[in-house]
């Protein structure tokens, strides 16, 4: 349903294989240069891992794709980030559309203090509301009556969206009987999968994951890793991790960042087995970092 609408708007569907195109990206926090002249391509429906030591700018790079850097005081971005061929930093681009297409999963699970159902339905509802506001006029007047938590437009469609998303996030079985209980009562791993489901509900093209397993126990982390592999058939996934084994396990391509600069990016196996650069080898063998 959303896909249809999204397609009509013409945001999606570009023929080439590159989902995100980053060219000459510089990010500054005040005086500090956090990302220095990074250029890379992220391929459609592949899992790309970003590795590197703490503070090397992995998360910053991630945030500059869905413009979450805008929220940080003093952050300044230079260069080009193209999602589906559109520069996300072009003037007049509506950020909420961008973020709806580029979902993000955070380091710490952050479900809202609402029910499981409302958590998952949050994105679609917001999207619908914004869409109507954009159209303006009478339709936005009617949306006045429809934007509530239990609006009639939700109906069966919303139930389906919620269930599909939970299913995709491999959570439905566990929460089916407590859809309307508070999401804060779930376990940490469940919460993180709920966040993934919440993100899937907006039908994103690209999912950004910022160390999604670092605050979880090994078993929960393993389930999330499985889930990421499943997702890569439908979505483009960019995952930041400090865990090299994890990167080796789940990613198709891996990039190493070092002090804000891109050291090397290639197929995962290649990067881990015969890295081109000396620094990469030192890093993956644990001699630096």
């Amino acid at each position: 349903m959303f896909n249809d609408q999204g397609n009509k708007e013409g945001i999606l569907d570009l023929p080439n294989q590159t989902a995100v195109e980053i060219r000459n990206l510089d990010v500054y926090y005040g005086e500090e240069n956090a990302i220095e002249d990074v250029s890379l391509d992220i391929l459609r429906k592949k899992v790309t891992a970003l590795i590197g030591p703490s503070g090397c700018g992995k998360s910053t790079l991630l945030r500059s794709i869905n413009r979450m850097n805008d929220l940080i005081d003093g952050a300044k971005v230079e260069g080009i980030v193209k999602v589906d061929g559109n520069n996300v930093y072009s003037k007049g681009l509506q950020v909420s559309r961008l973020r709806q297409k580029v979902g993000q999963v955070f380091q710490k699970p952050n479900p809202f203090p609402k029910s499981v159902y409302d958590n998952v339905a949050f994105g679609p509802r917001a999207y619908k509301h914004h869409l109507r506001k954009e159209k303006g006029g009478l339709s936005s007047l009617t949306s006045f009556f429809e934007s509530g938590e239990k609006s009639p437009i939700d109906g069966r469609h919303m139930d389906k969206v919620v269930k599909d998303s939970l299913e995709q996030a491999a959570l439905l079985d566990e929460v089916e009987d407590k859809l309307h209980k508070s999401a804060m009562d779930l376990s940490g791993g469940q919460q993180q999968r709920l966040c993934i489901a919440r993100c899937l509900a907006t039908k994103p093209e690209i999912i950004l994951m910022d160390e999604p397993t670092s605050s979880l126990d090994p078993i929960s982390a393993g389930r999330i890793e499985d889930l990421i592999e499943d997702l890569s058939t439908d979505y483009t996934v960019l995952i930041v991790t400090h865990n090299m084994q994890q990167a080796a396990r789940i990613s198709d391509k891996t990039a190493l960042l070092w002090l804000g600069e891109l050291v090397e990016m290639s197929e995962t196996e290649e990067l881990f087995e015969n890295p081109e650069k000396e620094l990469t080898e030192k890093y993956i063998t644990g001699r630096v970092g």
Binding site: E9, I11, S90, Q94, R97, K133, G136, G137, S140
Partner: protein, 343 residues
């Protein structure tokens, strides 16, 4: 093609500015002029907001929220300017006499605030002498010594002390305290400075205690833990580390408490003797007297013409003194916060 769709239709900054402008003009006309057509102006603004809400919900919401955030400032400016306009005439003729002269004679139309200012000072000092040591040491107990469960009881209980209406304090004070003090100290009048300053002390205490407790709480515990790790007792750690770090916050609490005591009205009005003359000797706290607040409260009903001007002058003075106190306190507090954020 895509960008066309994504463009915002109107500059939110423009919308913001216009809504703020309109609401200010409405506020101004509504209150300063108050004429019938303002109702229509008001309706116009309401209509504007409704339309804005339908088409540009985010920008409209932001503009309305901004307008709301100016409300406190607007009210403060209104109060200050109106007190200034109405209170200034009292100061114009002979400001020095008005402030330090000793006569308040309504029939002779001679007005000076000297005795009342002195009375306010005496009562406030008395209240502070009671509230400051008790307040600060309660703050130390609640912040540092009390176990968690007790703290959960004591904090609201101290808050409750601030919640008892001042008219009830005044009534209790008048019934219980005035006569008792008259008897104990064997003095010849019922409404001396002493009784209200005791009651005011208890009224200012919660302010001092809670702000001082916040200041003590704001000191990072690692400072104290560092001291404890060196083998000193808890009290030594508090005395050597916590209290010096919190000292400016505690000062702020005291200033705030002084402001509270100075501005308190009903309890003083009900307990004091309303004699508009200096006590003799000046430090005699057992003479009947008058403070700035009780002067206004007890005489505004009778006042007309020139005496209203004089009372407005008293209000102006009171307002700016308390304002200065609270700004000072705020400055001290924010300096404290900055220090801990940096350190």
């Amino acid at each position: 093609m895509i960008n066309d769709q994504l463009k915002e239709k109107i500059s939110p900054r423009f919308l913001l500015a216009s809504v703020v402008f309109i609401s200010f003009s409405v506020l101004f006309t509504f209150f300063v002029l108050f004429q019938t057509f303002n109702v229509y102006l008001f309706l116009l603004v309401v209509a504007g907001v409704v339309i804005g809400w339908i088409f540009y919900e985010d920008s409209t919401a932001k503009a309305l929220l901004f307008a709301a955030s100016t409300s406190a400032g607007t009210i403060l400016i209104l109060i200050a300017s109106f007190l200034f306009i109405r209170g200034l005439p009292a100061f114009q003729e002979d400001p020095i006499f008005f402030i330090i002269g000793s006569e308040w004679d309504v029939y002779g139309e001679v007005y000076s605030l000297g005795p009342m200012i002195w009375g306010s000072i005496i009562v406030t000092l008395g209240a502070t002498a009671l509230a400051a040591p008790l307040g600060v040491s309660s703050a130390i107990f609640i912040g540092k010594f009390a176990p968690k469960w007790l703290r959960g009881i004591l904090k609201p209980a101290i808050e409750l002390l601030a919640g008892i209406p001042s008219v009830v304090y005044g009534f209790l004070g008048f019934v219980l305290l005035n006569r008792a003090i008259m008897d104990y100290f064997d003095i010849s009048n019922l409404g001396q400075y002493f009784a209200p300053s005791i009651i005011l002390g208890f009224m200012a205490l919660p302010t001092i205690a809670s702000v001082a407790e916040d200041a003590i709480d704001a000191v990072p515990t690692h400072l104290e833990k560092g001291a404890l790790a060196l083998g000193v007792t808890k009290w030594q750690a508090i005395k050597e580390v916590t209290l010096p770090s919190a000292s400016s916050g505690i000062t702020a609490a005291l200033i705030l408490g002084i402001g509270r005591a100075m501005g308190e009205t009903m309890a003083v009005t009900m307990m004091i003797g309303h004699k508009t003359a200096f006590p003799s000797p000046l430090y005699d706290i057992f003479e009947p007297g008058e403070t700035l607040t009780s002067l206004i409260a007890s005489q505004i009903g009778e006042a007309s013409g020139q005496s209203i001007d004089a009372l407005m002058g008293a209000g102006l003075l009171l307002f700016f003194v308390v304002l200065a106190l609270s700004v000072t306190s705020r400055l001290i507090q924010s300096r404290l916060q900055r220090r801990f954020r940096q350190g």
